[in-house]
């Protein structure tokens, strides 16, 4: 892994006392000090070459025959759209009809699609946004570990995540205020233990950690057996080969069945047009990750797919002042994750549901 994360052992939790629960205290380091060279470094060597969104490389347990029908349809839709165009519609308005699923695109189509997205973002945000599509690397299965005995509930991860992933920002003066955060930190009483019914996600003391409390950040658990992808009626969300559950924002119809199915409250919906001021935009994006979203679609944590597929840590791992967050390749026998699994007491959230999270809570001390 890249060597960008602070050494957790050197940080004193008390150092962040006085920082209110928000992340607005100016200590957002880490996100911007990685050079371009680092960004392009492959994760574990062997990247998959050839057609990326080829279906075969992606774990897909759904009907094989259906995809063919879709492709045939794309062809026939070409004829239909041609007819509509002849009837006098403008070319841009037709893009929605020509749209095919990302997973069915050949590499040249993906390239064309990314270029189109970049043009659209340039027009919309007046900023140069690069949209990448780095594929999963062979042999990599990402996993995450979070030390419950270390987390102090400062919510820096929440805000670093928002900064990195282009979520909708608060807009109290606007007509609609629909801020989106992917990480929810729950405050729990030590006396009651891990009890979600008694948890408080809206704690707001002057200083954290509060006496007698501990903190449990929850985001997407990147399940190996994800209930959310199973229920999607249009196959707009799926689990990638490296284990990250992603969404095709251009295929999602916004029915929110995946949100209903998720046992971890990890998915977010764009109830209104996202409020993303130009100054807040992170221009380095991935097509399945932090590229700007539209109104009416679902989004979720991707463990910063735009970073981790290029050899970097997720933003939340980098920012954590107490080093409570660990990230790595589950298949690496000498990696951080395996070390945690082998040496620590691990807690899996809602283990009884057989979702098989690749997000492991553990007790470091």
């Amino acid at each position: 892994m890249a060597d960008t994360s602070p050494n957790p052992q050197d940080l004193d939790p008390n150092a962040v006392h006085g920082c209110a629960s928000g992340g607005s205290c100016g200590c957002s380091g880490g996100t911007d000090d990685v050079s371009e060279a680092d960004m392009d470094a492959p994760m574990d060597g062997n990247q998959v070459m050839g057609t990326y969104y080829d279906g075969g490389k992606i774990e897909n347990r759904s009907m094989g025959g259906l995809a063919l029908t879709r492709r045939e349809f794309a062809t026939s839709m070409g004829i239909v759209t041609g007819a509509i165009a002849a009837a006098g519609c403008s070319g841009d308005a037709l893009e929605v009809f020509k749209q095919t699923r990302l997973r069915e695109m050949t590499q040249p189509q993906v390239k064309e699609f990314l270029a189109r997205l970049e043009r659209e973002y340039k027009a919309k945000y007046n900023t140069d946004i690069t949209v990448g599509a780095t594929p999963p690397a062979e042999g990599v299965k990402f996993a995450y570990a979070l030390d419950l005995s270390r987390c102090i509930g400062c919510r820096r991860c929440v805000h670093a995540c928002v900064k990195e992933n282009n979520q909708s920002r608060p807009n109290p003066e606007g007509e609609h205020n629909n801020p989106i955060q992917w990480i929810k930190v729950l405050e729990m009483e030590k006396e009651k233990g891990i009890n979600l019914e008694e948890a408080d996600p809206y704690y707001n003391p002057d200083k954290v950690p509060r006496e007698g409390h501990f903190y449990m950040p929850v985001a997407c658990q990147q399940c190996e057996n994800p209930p959310c992808t199973k229920v999607c009626p249009v196959q707009a969300t799926w689990k990638e080969a490296d284990g990250i559950v992603v969404i095709d924002y251009d295929w999602c119809i916004g029915c929110r069945y995946c949100m209903v199915a998720c046992p971890y409250g990890a998915r977010r919906f764009n109830w209104a047009e996202p409020h993303l001021p130009q100054k807040d935009i992170n221009p380095n994006t991935h097509v399945l990750g932090n590229r700007p979203r539209s109104k009416g679609v679902v989004e979720k944590c991707t463990w910063c797919i735009q970073r981790v597929r290029n050899g970097r840590y997720p933003a939340c791992v980098e920012i954590c002042p107490v080093g409570a967050r660990k990230f790595g390749n589950l298949n690496d026998p000498h990696g951080e994750i395996r070390a945690v699994l082998e040496n620590k007491r691990v807690y899996i959230l809602k283990e009884d549901l057989n979702t098989q999270p690749k997000f492991f809570y553990f007790f470091g001390v």
Binding site: K230, C252, I253, R267, W271, L353
Partner: protein, 418 residues
Amino acid sequence: MLNKLFQFIKGAVHHITHGGRVYYMWVAFLLLLIAWGGYGYSNQFREGLIVTSMRDQVMWGFYIGNFTFLVGVAAAAVVLVIPAYIYHWGPIYEIVIIGELLAISAIIMCLGFVSVDIGRPDRFTHIMPLIGSLNWPRSMLAWDVLVLNMYLILNVSIVSHILWRAFHGREPSKGFVVPLVLFSIPAAVSIHSVTAFLYSGLGGRPFWNDAILAPRFLASAFCSGPAIILILLQILRKTAGLNIKDAAIQKIAELMAYAIAINLFFLGAELFKEYYSDTNHITHAQYLYFGLKGATGLGIYAWTSVAANVVALVLFLVPATRNNFFTLNVGCVLLYVGVYIEKGIGLVIPGLTPDTLGEIYEYVPTRHEMQVAAGVFGLGFLAFTVMIKVAIPVALGKLTYKPRDGEVLPAEPVEHAV
């Protein structure tokens, strides 16, 4: 053929545009509702679903609740056909037609409620069978799309056939109608079971993750669906001259008494499980009936629903009140209200509250949601009104094909006695 179709349309338009004062007022009212709902929806389309009070904690609400309820109405409407056959209720085809038209209208409303609930309606092609990328067979929503559309096509086929034949003064072809009507019965069961599986298949939602949900759905559908039909039959025999015997209505009422009793028994079984085992999963039932941490928004509805169902059971069980049309109609209304709450907001909202991380977000539909829902209901009622306005004259032989002078008609086949 074209001439016949033209004559049919001309006749249909004539019947739709001609009626009594009450009819005109009713249609005008429905058109107003639709316009009002359409205006509300245009706001929602522009601003996003933020105009509803659904949020990330409670991401389904009033729309999906109505959808669930109406799938039940659609299913139950057709199942009435069975007793109509068994007990020889006189104008069997008329009853079939009414049931099927109600089913068609209910499905139109179902599709309407799903459509107004999705965030990107412009991408509706993605969910269409064959041309979209339907996640079949894995997603229960994909199953629902398939069975609902199949059911719609099935009902439209049966009704069109009966009416087209009647338009020509001919009996429907038994070889065509009977197998389709028989097939529509398991199809009706399937649409409601699949809709129940949509909920009960979710491990992360203990309030729904329950084997009894599909049977409960069916039992409650056989309460609310016939409740609507009973009232419709009474209205139509007064206004449209349909000859429905009292005995038929009383037979339906008697059968409904069983359905109400079974539905209440299922509810009791569910409550026993929740409260006797007293696990953490009780929070949802607790929120529904008694409120949780000061959030008591649903309690009044939940108890209204239980009370309505219990009173309706008594009214349908006692022969004196069952055979009295006033108390029977009171029972129907109570039943409608009881099941509407139980299967609408009483199912969706507590299933999602508290949310999966224990947070309580009290969902109350906004004015926008009411407005849009009113529009969808208006659309369904208008569809039913217009269809029944044409169907009844056709079925009664008041709207038939008149051959032109000198036109030669094919000889009618001899109808064999059955």
